[in-house]
Symmetry: C2
Subunit: 454 residues, 2 copies
């Protein structure tokens, strides 16, 4: 373990070293702040960062630990928070001038849970405007001329650039998986309703998910275990037995997992690097992977070029965004980006019958996908994005390889196993059935070991 570069530590290692009094939280946070000073001028991952306030929290956790009282699993570990999650001690501006200077009086549910686990809330990371498409200032740490992806741009970039070991984002279409892939870190979008969204800016109750960023699968499991749980203020969470993410993710699968390689109707968008990379993975994995056609049944056949599930996602997202952003649209639509304004205008025209029809398709699609898992496969293997991060900062890239899984509320993880010819990371996405999240992490770890063999 390299103690000269504390900012490079994983959260699991850092938490252990703090627990064992090898390092202090203050040392860790100082190292991360130094890293931020060194590199954030170029990356610009942070919307709000007060180094003194972070250090105050770090020193307080060190003092607390010295009392001998029990500490949480993230005691003293800094975490970046996408600036759509309310924080009682920092502004939360949602990436929009309309919310400039907004200072919530309460923490979002996930922020409360992180504090309860002992984490240091490092600062707020850059989000696109209201977690939709209009980019913030963040650049890709691998090449500042390329987008970091979005909407969780700052969280992905901050973890990739080793400014923090962990960060929170969100995903309504591809806002966690895509930036994780573009920035070369691990992104995990859990099953819909596992993690409370209370206190987060809401785009779409049906589609919004909390997203997690880390550099190791262990860290994703560690973070997930702190965040999952029932919250009476998020009507899509439900009381359920604790999920032992850390233990399950660390296990060896009893038999080698089987993967369903699914190109999806979006495959034509995949670039050559991605296509070649997946061909290599498929070859390397041999009998553990099989290519599977999506929606072979007649009832769910997608009309040529028209992927209906993607349309249903758009109908739901537009209609729910129009409802959630009604106040912003009424009071300040001229201060919204053109893309967002157009989306809201589309959403305002959606009829309730069409909205409900789109909602009704979710369960049947998920059920048709469930058959895959029940019959034979442990995870779907599919690209996280059409390719590496595109050049330019005017767009955050294409979420279409995430849309279907987000619509169905299925757990997804992006793993940085591939590289483009220009040296940028390319993400491999694994998707599991709803509520089989911990096992998906176990499967991801198996795949990571398999990839490392090559």
């Amino acid at each position: 373990m390299d103690l000269t570069n504390l900012h490079s530590l994983s959260a699991s290692d850092a938490a252990q070293l703090i627990r064992e009094s090898v390092i202090s939280s203050q040392q860790l946070v100082e190292a991360c702040l130094a890293r931020i000073r060194e590199i954030d001028g170029q990356v610009q991952a942070w919307a709000h960062l007060d180094p003194d306030h972070a250090l105050v929290q770090a020193r307080a956790s060190d003092e607390y630990r010295l009392t001998g009282k029990p500490t949480g699993p993230l005691h003293g570990v800094p975490v970046g928070i996408k600036d759509i999650f309310d924080t009682a001690d920092m502004p939360t501006e949602d990436g929009s001038v309309l919310h400039a200077g907004r200072t919530p009086s309460r923490d979002a549910a996930v922020v409360s849970r992180l504090r309860a686990a002992g984490a240091v809330i490092m600062g707020k990371t850059v989000t696109t405007e209201f977690a939709y498409f209009a980019p913030g200032k963040t650049r890709n740490p691998h090449n500042p001329e390329h987008t970091p992806g979005g909407s969780s741009s700052g969280s992905a970039a901050a973890v990739a650039a080793e400014m923090v070991p962990l960060a929170l984002g969100s995903q309504t279409n591809g806002s966690t998986i895509r930036p994780a892939a573009y920035c070369g870190v691990i992104g995990y979008k859990p099953t819909h309703g596992l993690i409370s969204r209370h206190g987060a800016f809401a785009l779409s109750r049906t589609l919004d998910h909390v997203g997690l960023f880390a550099r190791t699968i262990d860290d994703i499991a560690l973070l997930a275990e702190q965040l999952v749980g029932y919250d009476e203020y998020d009507p899509d969470t439900h009381p359920r037995a604790r999920i032992p993410f850390i233990d399950v993710a660390a296990q060896e699968p009893p038999v080698p997992p089987m993967f369903a390689f699914i190109k999806t109707p979006m495959w034509e968008r995949a670039d050559d690097d991605t296509k070649e990379g997946f061909a290599e993975i498929v070859e390397q994995m041999g009998s553990q992977v099989e290519e599977v056609e999506l929606f072979p049944s007649a009832t769910l056949r997608l009309s040529s070029g028209q992927a209906e599930a993607w349309q249903w996602h758009q109908t739901i997202m537009a209609a729910e965004m129009a409802a959630n952003l009604e106040r912003e649209w009424e009071k300040g639509r001229d201060r919204l980006s053109e893309k967002l304004r157009e989306q809201i205008e589309r959403g305002r025209e959606v009829r309730a019958v069409d909205y409900q029809r789109a909602l009704r398709h979710i369960t049947p699609i998920h059920e048709s996908l469930l058959e895959l898992f029940e019959q034979r496969y442990d995870a779907i293997l599919t690209p996280a994005a059409p390719g590496a991060a595109p050049k330019g900062l005017a767009s955050t890239g294409d979420p279409s390889f995430c849309t279907l899984w987000t619509l169905c509320g299925m757990p997804c993880i992006s793993l940085p196993f591939l590289q483009s010819t220009n040296g940028l990371p390319i993400g491999v996405q694994l998707v599991g059935p709803r509520h089989v999240d911990a096992r998906l992490l176990r499967t991801a770890r198996w795949l990571a070991a398999k990839m490392a063999e090559s």
Copy 2:
């Protein structure tokens, strides 16, 4: 106990007598069938009734009981089922010519539960067209020139006329409480999501409830205890601890309950009999009742004459009906009643943003009502309908005294404590907070005893 009129027995008494081998299910069902032959020519409560099939079930339960195997709490007791609940052994026509001859292959969840409890499924009771407003053939047992109310017309009338001790209905606005009040029986609409609606014709996921009819509070508790429970096929039901309806309903309240007499913005619709009746009840109950103004807070103030909550209910009901009845509207709109066609046409025009806005008001309204219960009151006391059953069979009456509680998913019970000057029953409605159903029955029993004192 009068064993010469078995059809008059309560379900609780009948079940006990069967358990104790004093009577057989066959005797009970024969008595009910005799009562139907005697009186149903006038009342016309049944959409489908096959006396032989009912007797086959009754004899089978008698034979089963003789084996000494354990029997369910409703063993051998006949129950009427509103003809919107699927039955595998009888047609289910939903009160519409469009569904004439429809024979489902499976039982609705409630029908399965009744069979598991040992009940004899007597037959299907008349519903209005698709449980909306267009009346069926049923007449009020107290006066055939008056409506029995709707949409659960046959169930209310069959229980009132002592053709069965128990029946199932549904309520999306006032479809259980209103016919119970008009027919002079007890109607109970449980908390939204307590009883599965799987296999029932769906008008509105947000507003649809299963409704219960009986002639005693004990019977309501007995029936409710068989029906409540999680069903994975009804997404609004949730796993929860068993509710001991029978035990709680039988208890004496530890202190005399307090009632909040609420006139609601609909009070001007109440007729003189109702106003006088409530004035007498309030006087009789003395310090146990206080008149409370609804929505005194500024945020929920209703504009004069315009009761917004009633509009939100209408927006949700119209939009969801338009989605649920899309196939009927597309294939056979000329075979729908004019009222239903107009409702669907209104619903098809509702925008998704307005629909979502209406949905969003439900929680705040319920929370503002919760304050009443938390501060001081055990139940809201309010009319079940503007008055007794109106004359004429072209309309099923006015549901407006039920709308608000249905919108909020609150448990309601209608009790036949009053009478109009023309001798027809008038219902007194008690309303409780969500999930306090069993205690609402206990409160209702206390009130029934108090009323009997006079």
